[in-house]
């Protein structure tokens, strides 16, 4: 018997650990999915039967729909603004020697590691102070919410785009210039397409982060302006029927579809 034919103990242990971790990650998703189809109102095991009624309940729940539309708006705009700010910032950080460059880099990544509650509190206080100082309605406004979400999008953009730029062979920019392209044309025609996978991934992850953000948003939403995660939370305060599971499942499916579609155009596994 050759050694290759008999898997070693180490190999088995590694596979076992991998399966365990994967199960740990997937288990909540599996339960949410299962729960969404339960017939009874109070979730209990085993299910009394299965039904699709919670999906129609979720789809016709006004707070959910309004929340979804707001989250979509905020997510898309925050992602676009985050990209518009983050891509040039990454270029500057990677390409030029900036005073305090590493410090700026850390600063831009900071919102990612800051607890949402802390970030929310800080922004809440800041927005109140701004309102007092300027007299403009900042707190609870759509603009204030988008600005805050932009803050959590930027770290993803900076992280993924600097990574793309670091591995980028600058001689192809020289080649473009040698062939007659000015700096701007070179950027649009050569640099940007080369870092596009990083930008697309940054946009996707930034959007998902914004879309799912709960803690920070709790501090910043105004009356009649509720994002989807907050709408779900508020619903859960009164009811625990599977409508929430159905709404979550719809979200999971939408995000999964977005990832699969994106992955067809840029290989996400290569950038993240």
């Amino acid at each position: 018997m050759s050694a290759a034919a008999r898997p070693s103990f180490g190999r088995l242990a590694l596979n076992g650990a991998a399966c365990l971790s994967l199960g740990f990650i997937l288990l909540p998703l599996i339960f949410v999915t299962w729960l969404a189809f339960f017939r009874q109102e109070i979730p209990s095991f085993p299910p009394e039967g299965y039904s699709l009624k919670w999906f129609s309940a979720a789809a016709s729940n006004k707070p959910f729909i309004d929340g979804f539309i707001l989250s979509l708006q905020v997510g898309v705009l925050a992602t676009l603004i985050g990209l518009a700010l983050g891509v040039p910032a990454s270029l500057a950080l990677v390409r030029h020697r900036i005073t305090l460059g590493p410090a700026v880099n850390t600063l831009l990544l900071l919102p990612l590691v800051m607890p949402g509650i802390v970030l929310g509190t800080a922004l809440y206080v800041f927005q109140i102070e701004t309102e007092i100082a300027t007299g403009l309605p900042v707190l609870g406004s759509l603009g204030g919410l988008i600005a805050a979400h932009t803050l959590v999008v930027i770290p993803w953009v900076v992280r993924l785009v600097t990574a793309s730029l670091t591995g980028f062979d600058r001689t192809i920019e020289e080649a473009a210039q040698n062939l007659g392209a000015g700096p701007l044309t070179t950027f649009w025609r050569v640099t940007l397409p080369s870092i596009r996978p990083g930008i697309v991934a940054a946009g996707l992850f930034g959007f998902v982060t914004s879309f799912g953000n709960l803690e920070m948003s709790l501090f910043l939403v105004g009356p009649g302006r509720t994002t989807l995660p907050i709408a779900i939370l508020q619903y859960l305060e009164w009811k625990i029927d599977p409508t929430v599971a159905a709404a979550s499942l719809i979200q999971i499916v939408l995000i999964a579809v977005a990832m699969v579609v994106t992955d067809r155009y840029v290989k996400l596994s290569r950038v993240v």
Partner: protein, 352 residues
């Protein structure tokens, strides 16, 4: 196509001068090779011509055009990069068309010229492929086609063959040279590969430490190297240190008296001899300079035998003899007779 002139070109980074007063004139349609060890400033010189490195001083002209202050995109120099630098997200045809697009060449003419450029490098039919789908040699040809399609005034080649395997390199060498002749391209190539330089160039420029050591044809560089560095860099030389002992006489450190036509003037000097000009055995007896030498080491190199000998305690040298039938490889410790003609050696002032 046009002639290119480089006048007193200099590049310094702080106290470090990497290109020092380089002046070269390249005739219309000439293939010039910049040759030198790594760090000699040849690549920096090429990058200054392309416009990627601003010169500290000096002047660059292409034809009648002074391009010293022009950015790279206004110079019309086609550069083939060592790494090829193809645009990975564009097809072969798009890569080749890029320069034409930048020049706003109309679509119909563009596709005609792309097809023509691809035909020249024998890549017809590869239009729709992406660079990653091509072999190294094919990528290299695309890079060449891309540079040729824009009809540059000057073609610049930065070690274009260094990433190819040995056999392919031989073929591509000939192809590039043929193409360059056919199109009458004024060309500068940078390389550290001596054989490549010798087989391709019309003229060569030997550079070292940022300076031009010598400009000339292969024959000029080999037969009349301007200094000790060139004598050792182009081909091989056996060097004997000593001093000039009057006109036509050279005395080595070890006290050997050598008749040498090139010895004139005074002072300490180095005598350089081409290893293959040194005769051995009976042939050596007839030479004006002949000596008993002790074999220290002999290497069998196929067509040639490399023999390291000592003439005295202080005089060691290298000689090469052709591997003819019946020639036995001398053994270490053996004493042989070696000799050379009066006009065989060149004398250079001794370098510190």
């Amino acid at each position: 196509m046009a002639r290119l002139s480089i006048e007193h070109l200099r590049k310094s980074y702080g106290d470090l001068t990497v290109v020092d007063d380089v002046t070269i004139d390249i005739a219309d349609g000439e293939f010039l090779v910049l040759l030198g060890p790594s760090g000699c400033g040849k690549t920096t010189t090429l990058r200054m011509v392309a416009g990627f490195v601003p010169p500290s001083s000096g002047k660059l002209s292409i034809g009648e055009r002074n391009v010293t202050a022009l950015p790279p995109w206004k110079r019309n120099c086609g550069l083939v990069f060592q790494s090829y630098a193809l645009f990975p997200h564009m097809t072969v045809a798009e890569n080749v068309a890029f320069g034409l697009e930048m020049r706003k060449v109309a679509q119909a003419e563009r596709s005609m010229r792309v097809a023509e450029a691809l035909r020249l490098v024998q890549l017809t039919g590869f239009d729709g492929r992406y660079p990653r789908q091509l072999s190294g040699g094919q990528q290299q040809r695309v890079a060449l086609a891309r540079a040729l399609a824009m009809e540059p005034d000057v073609l610049l080649l930065d070690e274009p063959l260094s990433n190819l395997d040995a056999k392919l390199r031989q073929e591509v060498r000939v192809e590039i040279r043929d193409l360059q002749r056919k199109l009458g391209l004024t060309t500068i190539m940078v390389t550290h590969d001596q054989e490549e330089a010798l087989t391709m160039a019309d003229r060569l420029v030997v550079m070292e430490k940022g300076q031009v050591r010598q400009i000339g044809t292969q024959r000029e560089l080999y037969e009349k190297p301007a200094d000790r560095f060139v004598a050792g860099f182009i081909g091989r030389s056996a060097f004997l240190d000593g001093e000039i002992a009057g006109n036509g006489r050279f005395r080595t450190k070890g006290g050997l008296d050598i008749a040498c036509a090139a010895a004139t003037g005074m002072g300490s000097a180095t005598l350089a001899l081409r290893p293959e000009r040194i005769a051995v055995g009976g042939e050596a007896q007839g030479c004006p300079n002949h000596y008993e030498a002790k074999v220290e080491h002999a290497s069998y190199l196929g067509a040639l035998l490399d023999i390291h000998v000592s003439l005295s305690e202080h005089d060691r040298m290298l000689l090469q003899i052709p591997n003819r039938a019946g020639v036995a490889e001398p053994k270490p410790g053996e004493t042989i007779t070696i000799g050379w003609a009066q006009d065989a050696g060149l004398v250079y002032p001794r370098e510190a």
